[in-house]
Structure formats: C-alpha cells, structure tokens
C-alpha cells in the first residue's frame, strides 16, 4: 500500500492529472474559424485587399485581448476572383473541408447571393461587408445572410438628396457595370433622382471589367449631362474616369458622383486627379471624429501604411459583432447566433450600428463624402433610420 503512494508514483499521478486538465483546457481553446472568401485577384482585387486588412487587424486585436470566451479567431482566406461560380466553389471548400463556423468576405453582389445559398444549405451564416445590391436584403433575402454595410438604397437616398440640393444642373447620366450590383444601384439612383426633380438623359451598362470605355463615351457626349453617376468599382472606375479625362470631358461644369465603392482609398492613386470632386454617400469616412475611429485609423495606418476605406472599416467592425454575438449566445450554433445578431446594436469605428431583424440589414448613418485632392472629406450626414428605407424582405 505504501509503495503506491511513494514519491515517484505521486509525481506521476500529479503529472497525469495536470496533463488531463491541460488537454481539456486545450479543447476549450478551439479557435472560431471564419472563412473569408474575397477577391484577391481580378477587377475587385483592391477591395479584397482592404477586406483582408480589416479582418486581420480586428482578429489581431481581439485575440490579443483574450479572444472570444477564451477562444481565438482563425481566418482562412480564399480567392473568389469577383466571380460567383468561383466564389461558390471556394465557399463549399471552406465549409466542407475547413469546417468554418462563419463566412464572410464576398464582394461581388452576385457572389454574395450565390454563397448565401451555399451557406443556407450548410447551416452557416454569411455576412457581407461590401456588397450593396439591394436584393441581398430585399427581394432575394436569406435567413442565413446578414449585411453590415450600407446598401445601394441607403447610399442613393443620401447622395441624391445632397446632389439635387447642391448642384444647379439637373441632367443626369448613369453608368453601371452590367450585373446585379450595377443594375440595382443605378435603378436606385434613377428612382431617387426622378423623385427629387432631376432629369435622366441616358444610362449605359458596360460589362464588368470592360477594357475600353470609349465606345460608351459617345452616348455620354450625345447626352450632354451635368452630372455623371457611376456604379463602377475598382479598376473599372479607374478606366472610366481616366478615359473621360483623356477625352477632355471632365473640364467645365460636369460633376462626378456615384456609389460608395466607386472611388476608394485603393484606386484613387491610380486615377491621377481624374476623380477630383467626386461625391458619394457612404457608411464610413476616414475623418469621422470619434475616439474609436481615430484609434482604428491610427492602428490601420501603422500596420498597412495606408488609410482604411469603408470596406476595411466595415469588415473590421464585423468581427466585433461576431465577438459580441458569440459571447451572448455562448456558442457558434447557427440558430442561436442568428438570434444573437438580430435587433442588436454594437460599437464600430463609425459609431453605433444596429441590425434590423426583418431583413438583416444594418442601420447606418450615411455620410456624404467628396474627393478633394487625394483624400476624402465629409460634407453632409443623414441619420441611419432616415436612410434605411422600408423592409422588402418577405422570406423569413
């Protein structure tokens, strides 16, 4: 009997128990896997870059501060190439092979719609931080899809109000890439301009990734507009605006305006002045004067040597929503997470955001932003509840 309790055996028993405790503690520290399927190449690569940076910065901060209920976030990136079929393939890989708990990162609105269906089939939640086609939380809403950024409707109501008030000319020409996002954004602009008393003098829809916009400029010349509103993004905007400038069409009284993603931190450098005076309405601006935003911008600049744009900021803010929801639900079980994400508010760099339960759209204060030189200046503000518009989601 005494032999069982001598020093070596006792030491071994303690070590064994300690090892048992350590391994159980290790199981509880399983990371929360977040799949980020975002364009890392192609027309929207610049947007994907900011999405990636926003996610990485947020995860770094959250993990350093203790994580989510003791678990850390783990990010797994896949390239969707701004191409919906590719996005679906990569999302399926993340869900079935990597067994991610949450999905985010989709930029192309077509990708968000398609991946949303994949997420639904696999009982996981997808949150977009970029896509702004209204149908994502409208006619084609999905119980597993959330959106934390401002959609085309919100952008349009804020922007068109500012334009009609501040620009004397009333002739509007619209340019949008020929897919879901371009068509629905332009439709939102057209409705609001008509409602506010402007005149539409033309609209054209070049294919996404169009190499040469000069065939389309003929229609612009024929229309003689006062304002050109564009829903292009990434490289498309660079080509459109530089070609407008090359053909001498940007001098004089023409005002450029468009969707929030058209001119951002990532593509403004490539436009060498062609975007001067560009006006848009976005849910985020770098010069938002809150301590939280100042800290965020400083940390972002220190890490990546460039200012964040709305895509980086909204993606960053999302992870704090994830943290809050997982801690509140106590689990990453989809049904409980969904409940913990509806009708809740959380703090983001640009202020308090709320997710509307009926359609999973975030209520966001809209800022009218103008390009001055190579920076963005806020020139107006519309409160979130005013900008969000009616709920069009009838599916859940």
């Amino acid at each position: 009997m005494r032999k069982l309790l001598d020093g070596t055996h006792l030491g071994a028993a303690v070590a064994f128990l300690a090892g048992l405790l350590a391994s159980t503690h290790g199981e509880a520290a399983d990371p929360v896997k977040v799949g980020v399927v975002t364009p890392l190449s192609g027309t929207y690569a610049q947007i994907g870059k900011q999405v990636r940076w926003g996610a990485e910065l947020a995860v770094k901060e959250i993990n350093a501060a203790g994580g989510v209920n003791g678990r850390s976030f783990e990010l797994i990136f896949e390239d969707e190439e701004a191409n919906p079929p590719v996005a679906v393939r990569k999302a399926e890989k993340l869900l079935l092979q990597d067994k991610v708990d949450l999905l985010t990162g989709t930029v192309n609105s077509g990708s968000t719609l398609a991946v949303g269906q994949v997420a639904e089939r696999n009982d996981r939640i997808l949150v977009t931080t970029v896509s702004y086609a209204t149908s994502i939380t409208g006619a084609q809403c999905n119980a597993n899809v959330f959106r934390v950024n401002a959609n085309a409707f919100q952008q349009s109501s804020a922007l068109t109000a500012w334009l009609v008030k501040n620009i004397p000319g009333k002739r509007y020409f619209f340019v949008g890439p020929d897919y879901e996002m371009g068509r629905s954004t332009i439709a939102a602009f057209q409705d609001d301009i008509k409602r506010l008393g402007g005149t539409e003098v033309g609209a054209t829809y070049p294919p996404l990734g169009a190499k040469d916009f000069s065939p389309y400029l003929g229609q612009v010349r024929a229309a003689r507009p006062d304002v050109i509103m564009t829903a292009t993004a990434g490289n498309d905007t660079v080509r459109l605006l530089t070609q407008l400038k090359e053909y001498g069409m940007l001098s004089g009284e023409l005002t450029l305006a468009g969707a929030a993603g058209a001119v951002t931190q990532e593509n403004i450098g490539a436009m060498s002045g062609a975007a001067e005076g560009f006006v848009s309405a976005a849910g985020y601006a770098v010069d938002v004067d809150t301590p939280r935003n100042k800290a965020f911008v400083e940390a972002f600049k220190k890490q990546y040597q460039t200012d964040p744009d709305l895509f980086g900021a909204d993606t960053y803010g999302l992870f704090y929503l994830f943290k809050q929801a997982i801690e509140k639900a106590g689990t990453t079980d989809t049904a409980k997470l969904r409940a913990a994400m509806e009708n809740v508010t959380w703090e983001t760099p640009q202020g308090t955001k709320k997710i509307r339960k009926e359609d999973h759209q975030a209520v966001v204060d809209m800022l009218t932003v103008k390009v001055v030189g190579s920076s963005f200046k806020t020139v107006g503000r519309v409160p979130g509840e005013e900008a969000i518009g009616p709920n069009n989601c009838k599916k859940f």
């Binding site: 190449s41 192609g42 027309t43 690569a45 190439e81 020929d178 054209t204 829809y205 070049p206 294919p207 990734g209 190499k211 040469d212 000069s214 065939p215 389309y216 400029l217 003929g218 229609q219 010349r221 024929a222 490289n235 090359e246 053909y247 001498g248 069409m249």
Partner: protein, 297 residues
C-alpha cells in the same frame, strides 16, 4: 440645323475618329491573317494568340526595363520569330498533304490552346496594365483626342502603307504574289519557296505583335485578349475577301466604323453583334468577300 451640325461635330466625329484608331489596329491583325491564307491556304487559328503573345512580350519587356519604345521594336521581332518557328516546325511538314486545309486548322487550333495556357501558367490570370507612354490631348478639328491614340493611328497607318508598298512595289512582293498563284512555277525559277513561306509568316505575325504593343495601353493584357480580337479579325478577313490585302484594310476600317457609330444608338455590346451580322450578310450575298485574293485579278 445648327443642333444637327453640332451633333455631327461633337458626337459623331469623335466616335468616327475613335473607330478609325481601332480599325487601323484591327487591320494590322487581319493583314497577317489574310496574307497567310492568301499565300499558303492556311487558316491560322493561332493568330489571335500570337497577338496575345505580343501583349505579354510587351509586359515582360517593360518588366525588364526595356521601355515602351524598346518594346515597340523588340516585340514584333520576337513574335515574328515565333510565327516563323510555327511555320517551319508545324505548318510546312503538313503542306504537301491533300487534306492540308483541315490539318493545319487543327494544328493551329491546338497551338492557340497551348499558347493561351502557357501565358496563364507564366503570367497568371490577372490583367496587366501597360502604362501609356504619351499623355495629353490633341485637338483634331475641334475634337479632343488623347495624344497616345493619335500616335496609334499614325503608327498603324504607317505599317499598313509599308505593307502595301512591300507587296505591290518591291521585287519581294512580286515574288510573294507569284508564289500565291503558282508556287511550282516560282520554284522552278530558283526562288527558295520555303523562305518565302517563312518570311510571310514572320511578317504577318510581326504585324500582330506590333498591333499588340500599340493597343496594350488601351486594352490592357489578359489571357483571352487574342480570342476576342481573332473573331473580329476573321470577320474582317471574310468581309474583305480571304487573301486580299486591300480587302483586309478596307473591311477593317469599315467594320470598326459600323461598331463605333452603332454604339451611339445601341449598347456597344450589341454593336459588336451587329458586326457579325454584317459578316453573315456578306457571306450570303457575296461569299468571296469584297476584293479578290492576292495575285488574282
């Protein structure tokens, strides 16, 4: 009336000038295609991807610090050599065969797939931008035209004139035209036919490479650029007459105007479809095209 004149001046004229610029570049690509067919009865399906090769060669040359002007000289030569290699190694062994038309078609189709995949393996699927070497605007009859596009127009026109001069005003050109009609007879005069064939392929592909460098800053460089342009080039060659040099030039200018001016009233993607509709019409009404084959009356 004044409104109409103003419309012509500020809307139609800029579109016309733009169409001219694209038409000239299209003519360069179509010329290579038509010369190869006119001389050798070979439909070179790899021609579009030869053009693509020119684009990537330009990207590579710029990457090595050659500068745009260096690329403009170096790339056509490189692409010409590739074309000559294709002729020597791929086409010539097949020429004696009775079914050469089909076999060379299959061969060039295979080569086009290889070239495209090779480009993707080496350069990736991303689009490469080539910086515009000339910035600024010129005023042409009151219309603002980017200086670089004007440069493309002038260079392309010069290359077309050079080609015409070579084929119709030099002894080499006479040999070429004679070989197109009766190779056996020309060979019996002691002219090395294989050099004529090789040189034609070299020149035709060099033209395509030249066009690629000129169009690089406008259209950017990506793996399917050759495919898109080849379809248009074929439409040009069919409308102009297969094997006709004058036909290639005139049809290129004509069809690019059809596309450019139609873009004023219908969406530009449909304007492209209109060009193919015109091609179909020509095939129905006048199948041999507008002009006669090189060497024939």
């Amino acid at each position: 009336m004044e409104d109409f004149v103003s419309y012509l001046h500020f809307v139609v004229l800029p579109q016309f000038i733009d169409g001219l610029i694209i038409g000239v570049a299209l003519a360069l690509v179509a010329l290579g295609l038509t010369m190869i067919f006119g001389l050798l009865d070979v439909i070179n399906l790899a021609h579009g991807d030869i053009y693509m090769l020119g684009g990537y060669a330009a990207v590579a040359a710029l990457g090595w610090g050659a500068g745009y002007w260096g690329a403009l000289v170096f790339v056509p030569l490189l692409v010409g050599v590739v074309g000559w290699g294709l002729e020597e190694l791929g086409i010539r062994p097949l020429l004696p065969r009775g079914d050469r038309a089909i076999v060379t078609l299959l061969l060039t189709f295979g080569v086009s797939l290889i070239l495209r995949d090779l480009a993707q393996v080496v350069f990736g699927t991303e689009t490469y931008a080539i910086a515009t070497p000339l910035s600024g605007m010129a005023k042409l009859a009151g219309v603002a035209v980017p200086l670089y596009r004007l440069f493309v127009l002038i260079c392309g026109a010069a290359a077309i004139v050079l080609t015409w001069w070579l084929v119709y005003r030099t002894r080499i050109g006479a040999v070429l035209r004679a070989t197109a009609v009766d190779p056996a007879m020309v060979a019996s005069f002691g002219v090395p036919i294989r050099i004529v064939y090789g040189a034609t392929f070299f020149y035709g592909c060099a033209l395509a490479g030249f066009a690629a460098v000129l169009l690089g800053p406008i259209y950017a460089v990506f793996p399917t650029m050759g495919h898109d342009f080849l379809l248009l080039a074929f439409a040009v060659v069919i409308v102009g007459g297969m094997g006709s040099i004058a036909g290639a030039v005139i049809a290129a200018l004509l069809l690019s105007q059809v596309q450019g001016l139609a873009s004023l009233w219908i969406p530009p993607v449909w304007a492209e479809t209109l060009v193919y509709a015109v091609m179909m019409l020509v095939l129905i009404v006048r199948p041999r095209g507008l002009f006669a084959r090189i060497g024939e009356a």
